[in-house]
């Protein structure tokens, strides 16, 4: 379990860095969603299921979708 946690932490940091460095806005938004999902796993492992549920449903679900809608909207306006 310890090694799984370390692996999750590593992937979390990597996807955060990837979200900052990528030029593609859509994949950056998806990377931020991945960070939220992994953080919610870590919350669950540390014994905070309430916070984990909030993070998974709002951080990984709704805010990713809102980012995607906003990105598509602004691209349409600029064209």
């Amino acid at each position: 379990m310890m090694y799984l946690d370390l692996l999750v932490c590593l992937v979390l940091v990597l996807s955060g860095v990837a979200a900052m460095n990528t030029r593609n806005l859509v994949s950056a938004a998806v990377m931020v969603g991945v960070v939220s999902l992994l953080v919610s796993y870590l919350f669950l492992r540390m014994g905070a299921p309430d916070v984990a549920m909030t993070e998974a449903s709002i951080g990984a679900g709704l805010s990713t979708i809102i980012f995607l809608i906003a990105i598509r909207r602004t691209e349409e306006e600029e064209r």
Partner: protein, 237 residues
């Protein structure tokens, strides 16, 4: 020079953070937290202590949180509101898979969200989480069928009634027990770990769930459906 400065600044901030919490060591609960742990079950009969803290001990704080959410959704709706003279998007119809899947999954997801906030005092989760789950079901429906519209009158009515009910539950505590949002004596506390227990906590969490669900759903509806400005001759957009 700038990069060296930022690295030094980051190292200093990291050093402060390391000093703040010893890594991997759980800290001792303070006196207030110790009181919640020792007496929370007796005072509220809620199986989920986190919910007891959020809705009862820190209930006033939660009322403020709900108000902040309402204000932000109202602000977003004001900025993104549908103006006259906007062209509706001509949508490509979504795929068969998405349409059928949305139709099949909508009801189970809504029921799951309702389960989360109805059982907020028994199991992890509560009004905010359940409301977000319901909003994601609504989002699936809106993505599958763009011509679908939410009944705005019903949504606004539900939302304002939920907020009103929250304040009324607090006033009931003020009348009966002498302090706002008190849980003592308003409703029978019942038996620990039953659905009908914990006094006004499940009622408040159901109201919070309805409020968060309707607010996030109408925010998504406004965001998905805002038209783009019509390309006018004057070039104004």
């Amino acid at each position: 020079m700038k990069q060296i400065l930022s690295v030094v600044l980051l190292l200093a901030m990291g050093w402060f953070l390391v000093g703040l919490v010893p890594l991997g060591q759980p800290t001792e609960p303070g006196r207030v937290a110790q009181h919640y742990i020792d007496n929370g079950i007796d005072e509220n009969r809620g199986a989920n202590l986190v919910t007891s803290v959020i809705v009862n001990y820190r209930g006033f704080d939660t009322l403020g949180e709900v108000t902040v959410l309402f204000l932000s959704v109202a602000g977003a709706g004001f900025v993104l509101r549908r103006r006259d003279g906007l062209v509706r998007h001509e949508h490509r119809p979504s795929s068969e898979i998405l349409q059928t899947g949305a139709r099949m999954l909508f009801a189970p997801i809504v029921v799951f969200g309702a389960y989360i906030f109805v059982h907020g005092h028994l199991s992890p989760g509560g009004g905010f989480q359940g409301g977000a789950v319901i909003a994601s079901a609504v989002m699936l429906l809106l993505l599958a069928d763009r011509s679908h519209h939410l009944p705005h009158g019903l949504m606004h009515w539900l939302e304002s009634m939920a907020g009103f009910g929250y304040v009324m539950a607090g006033v009931a505590g003020l009348v009966v027990a002498g302090s706002f949002l008190s849980n003592q004596g308003v409703l029978p506390l019942g038996t620990w770990n039953r659905l009908f227990s914990a006094g006004i906590i499940p009622i408040i969490y159901i109201l919070v769930g309805l409020k968060v669900g309707t607010e996030l759903s109408s925010l998504l509806d406004v965001m998905i459906d805002t038209g783009r400005p019509a390309r006018q001759e004057g070039g104004r957009s």
